[in-house]
Amino acid sequence: MSGLYQFIYETAVIILPSWTSHLVAGLSIMIILVNAVLMGAAVFVWMERRLIGRFHNRIGPNRWGPFGMFQPFADMLKLVFKEDIIPANADKPVFILVPIAMLMPVILMMAVVPFAQNTALANLNVGVLYVLAVTSVTTLAIFMAGWSSNNRFAMFGAARGVAVLISYEVPVVISLLGVVLVTGSMSLADVVSAQTVPFLLVQPLAFFVFLAGTSAELNRTPFDVAEAESELVAGYHTEFSGVKFALIQAAEFGGVAASAAVIVTLFLSGWAGPASAYLGWLWFLLKVGVIAFVFIWIRATYPRLRVDQIMALAWKFLLPLSLINLLAIVLEVFFLRDASGVLTTADLWIMAGINIVLAVSAIALFGSLISEKVSPNIWQPGAGLPEPTPAVAFPAREVR
């Protein structure tokens, strides 16, 4: 039972019976959690639009509130007042369920993330597994959206999205095995306390794979084939409007915030930092901000990949990298652990030294191996014109 829950319960039990106090504590933490996710989404939307603007040498939203800070709320308010259209041929119950099915995993994902010392809503002993299971629900929601819209672009987007999500699930899960192996536990609180050296240094390869895979699972720009604006109208959420669209947007941007929180917990040692007993939440928020900046930076930099390039990246690049990482971690844990199976800080530093070299060389090797597949053939001056493809010779027709 987490510290915040305990605190609310002990305050409430002074005047209320025990079972009501449990109810009050649970409900209040639930409200805090839902609002934290939605506020995180709003802050991330603002941050993303401002930063993308600056990356493009623009200013970004700056009309509404200081530095345009109220822009997400204005957007949300506008969407709430818009007409909520359900297409005539849509599968109505599924269509209505989609926004809920999209937003729920994001909120549920935050339930196990420790914001500070003993401040997770639920300190599950299978936290990592829970996070993976809950994020996979998004796949179903995307397919529901595409199927129920009865729109070809929505269906195309959903099919692409599901393909991307299923492909990237594999390297992400395998990269997380390394984290679980070093920690010796699946609880996120244990993962944080095990990171005397941040896992970013101990297994940079796993961090790289997890960041790329999460970026793909969130349908963000280098991997946003599911909602490619220039190809499909808006992908799987083409037909959604009004409140439903607002909820889907909140789920997308809240998903980035929640994933950043999970990445911070798994690889950047969570709330740990100087004076972490009191300032843990501050370190946590700072690290989440840094990871969110990296997400925005990647989005501002890379153009959208083709579908075949995305699949090549998942199966020919990230999957081998995650397997190499798993193999290296397994061997290192096997040889470095002491009799009771515990890794000391010195052991972690040794692993970091080995793994950083391994990561650089592995990324260079596999990067050059798939560069043929991913990068286009660039014409070099002086190389001459490319050979024209020989025309298929049709037999001349006999004229009668």
Partner: protein, 215 residues
Amino acid sequence: MFGLSMAAGLLVTLKNLTKKPFTVQYPEERVKQHPRFRGEEFVWYEERCTGCASCAKYCPLGIIKIETSPSETLPQQGDKYRLEVFDIQIFRCMFCGLCVEACPYDALFMGSGFEQGQYSRKEMVIGIDDLRHADKKPSTYLRPQLESANYDPRSGKPLDWKDVGRESWDWHLKEKAGMRLARPTPPDYAGGPQAQEESNTSERTGGETKFGGPA
């Protein structure tokens, strides 16, 4: 190679992040406008206009409508038509400036504004009263006398009809010999550049014209 170009791409965007944004916050800030800008709200000087309707004839779209009636004065006293109607359908205007180019008496000038948006087409027709009361800040488009005087319609003061002509042109003087317009004596070209300079200053001190110098 080795994915290094990916990192190079990240550095390029990071470099752009640190640059100052190009955006000009329009209603609060404005880009500096060229004095030769061809804008809306034509500047028209009724005192100079003879109602010859050259502008209407030269307009490629035919959107200028001029109706005149004979005035009471004798031709020797500087005859001109009296204008009854001078409508410009500004919503069809493409700001080519041919009307300004055609005007033989420097009566019509391009304006420098661009914020005359209205809600209906009827309101987008500039009538004679609008032209009378418009800001007299002419653009220097095709008006070399304004340009050589470095007049800027955005920052300069409104100009009177006496300030904007090119009366020093000889053909102009001969053609309108009978007109009783107050105009400066033409500069003396015989004395060379030195004399020309002096004649210019004398004009200015005379207070007759500001832009009377040779173009």
